[in-house]
């Protein structure tokens, strides 16, 4: 079973040379720490920066240079700043190669819910609806079950949707799964997790074909 860093580490393997990547808040942010050094990747933040670097050294924070999580950041050589309209032009126009974001629920048809729980304070969708409606390549990073132990991989989402039929891949603390026309296809098990464990934790249709390998991290 993986912890949050483990999930991020596994997702980092999906990041290919030459990719522009948008990372959501939470586990996705951690992915940047695990991307291989020998490939070229640029991180985009929807508030208007491409080519984000690490956090600044103490004392070098600039209030005018932040990411979408409102954290102070730095930029790398080749970076650029731009306005919100152009930023979402990048996203909507499918120039960003990979979007990694968290979710409350994912349905076996690729629907995703990650912005609203009826009856609770709603903070808003931010850029998530634009990202999921536009991106060709979306990976969800999340725990396989919620705190009550209920599956977050469902036949149908129960929460208000963020986007429809858009999720392509899911990496959880238990498994890597692909969204197919027939349901969630199990690709990999987390270390020490059995296919049976994953079946138990998955409410939606789970497709298990042949031997399921353990993740290589």
């Amino acid at each position: 079973m993986l912890d949050k860093n483990g999930i991020a580490k596994r997702i980092a393997k999906e990041v290919k040379d030459g990719y522009y990547v948008n990372l959501g808040i939470g586990i996705p942010t951690l992915v940047a720490n695990f991307v291989r050094d020998d490939i070229s990747v640029e991180f985009q933040s929807e508030n208007g920066v491409l080519g984000m670097g690490p956090f600044p050294f103490e004392g070098e924070e600039d209030a005018d240079i932040i990411n979408a999580g409102k954290q102070t950041i730095t930029t790398l050589p080749g970076a650029s700043f731009f306005d919100s309209a152009l930023s979402f032009g990048m996203i909507r126009g499918q120039h960003v190669d990979l979007t990694i974001l968290g979710a409350m629920e994912v349905a076996e048809n690729g629907d995703i819910a990650n912005w609203k729980i009826p009856g609770k304070m709603v903070k808003g969708m931010g850029g998530a609806m634009d990202l999921v409606a536009s991106a060709e390549n979306i990976i969800v990073a999340m725990m396989h079950t919620n705190r009550a132990g209920e599956s977050k991989l469902l036949k149908r989402c129960t929460l208000p949707l963020t986007g429809v039929q858009c999720v392509k891949k899911i990496v959880t603390n238990l498994a890597v799964l692909e969204v197919t026309e027939d349901g969630f296809r199990l690709l990999e098990r987390a270390p020490g997790v059995s296919v049976e464990d994953i079946k138990q934790a998955t409410e939606g249709t789970l497709i298990v074909e042949g031997d399921i390998p353990e993740m290589q991290l």
């Binding site: 933040s45 929807e46 508030n47 208007g48 920066v49 690490p54 956090f55 600044p56 050294f57 103490e58 004392g59 070098e60 924070e61 600039d62 209030a63 005018d64 240079i65 932040i66 990411n67 979408a68 999580g69 409102k70 954290q71 102070t72 950041i73 700043f81 731009f82 306005d83 919100s84 309209a85 930023s87 979402f88 996203i91 909507r92 629907d111 304070m121 709603v122 903070k123 808003g124 969708m125 931010g126 850029g127 998530a128 609806m129 634009d130 409606a133 536009s134 208000p160 949707l161 963020t162 986007g163 429809v164």
Partner: protein
């Protein structure tokens, strides 16, 4: 050269009235029109509809207006980080219209550029598209979204000149450029106001034609919401 300079924030906000719709630039607390917000508090105008990506924090940014109950309705994409906001929203005192961030930006840009409406994929199949026209183009579904209509647009830039030309800095650019000229009157506050001719015409982000009034702001706090740093080795 058409001069857009006004003496101060008070002259810049002349004409703001109760019940108006006001656009405000900024992402979080980054690039917000600090001076103009303070003046709105001082003026005490009420029943405002505010179009702004976020709603500030409890004691800064739009939180200052919320605290004084000057805002009736917020149109935003993300309104976390603000307890007073949450209280007013849950009690029904404050109306909130949540809009996907890219749609919010484009609704500003559409108003600036004279487009009445546009089709975007964001929000299709979600409650955001309820009551809106949806339509297929090339096998994909889109939602029709309309341009904003606003009375004042309050933006913050880094440098500006007498002609109203603006240059923004870093990610403080965000929604500010698209809001310029997207309301009947656009007020720009800048950290540095220079004579016409000092800015390179090639480096201007927003031409002065989109700005009605410009003034030199003061006492910028530029508060950081999430101070994240790393240690030197």
């Amino acid at each position: 050269m058409i001069k857009k300079t006004v003496a101060d924030v008070s002259a810049a906000l002349q004409g703001v009235e109760d019940g108006m719709t006001i656009m405000l630039g900024g992402f979080g607390l980054c690039g917000i029109p600090e001076n103009a917000i303070s003046e709105l508090v001082r003026l005490g105008v009420k029943d405002l509809t505010c179009i702004s990506n976020n709603a500030g924090v409890d004691d800064f940014g739009l939180g200052l207006l919320l605290h004084k109950r000057q805002i009736n309705k917020m149109i935003s994409s993300y309104v976390g980080e603000n307890e007073e906001f949450e209280r007013q929203m849950l009690s029904g005192e404050l109306e909130v219209e949540l809009t996907p961030q890219g749609t919010l930006a484009e609704k500003c840009r559409a108003a600036q550029a004279g487009f009445p409406a546009f089709y975007t994929p964001a929000g299709y199949g979600t409650e955001v598209s309820m009551g809106k026209e949806t339509r297929e183009f090339n096998g994909k579904m889109y939602v029709l979204e309309e341009a904003f209509k606003a009375d004042f647009s309050l933006v913050k830039a880094w440098k500006g000149d007498e002609a109203g030309n603006l240059i923004f800095k870093g990610t403080a650019r965000n929604f500010n450029p698209s809001m310029c000229g997207a309301a009947k009157i656009t007020v720009a506050e800048v950290e540095e106001l220079v004579p016409a001719g000092e800015l390179d015409p090639n480096e201007i982000h927003i031409p002065g034609i989109f700005v009605s009034r410009i003034f030199q702001g003061k006492d910028y706090e530029k508060r950081i919401e999430q101070r994240t740093v790393r240690k030197r080795n």
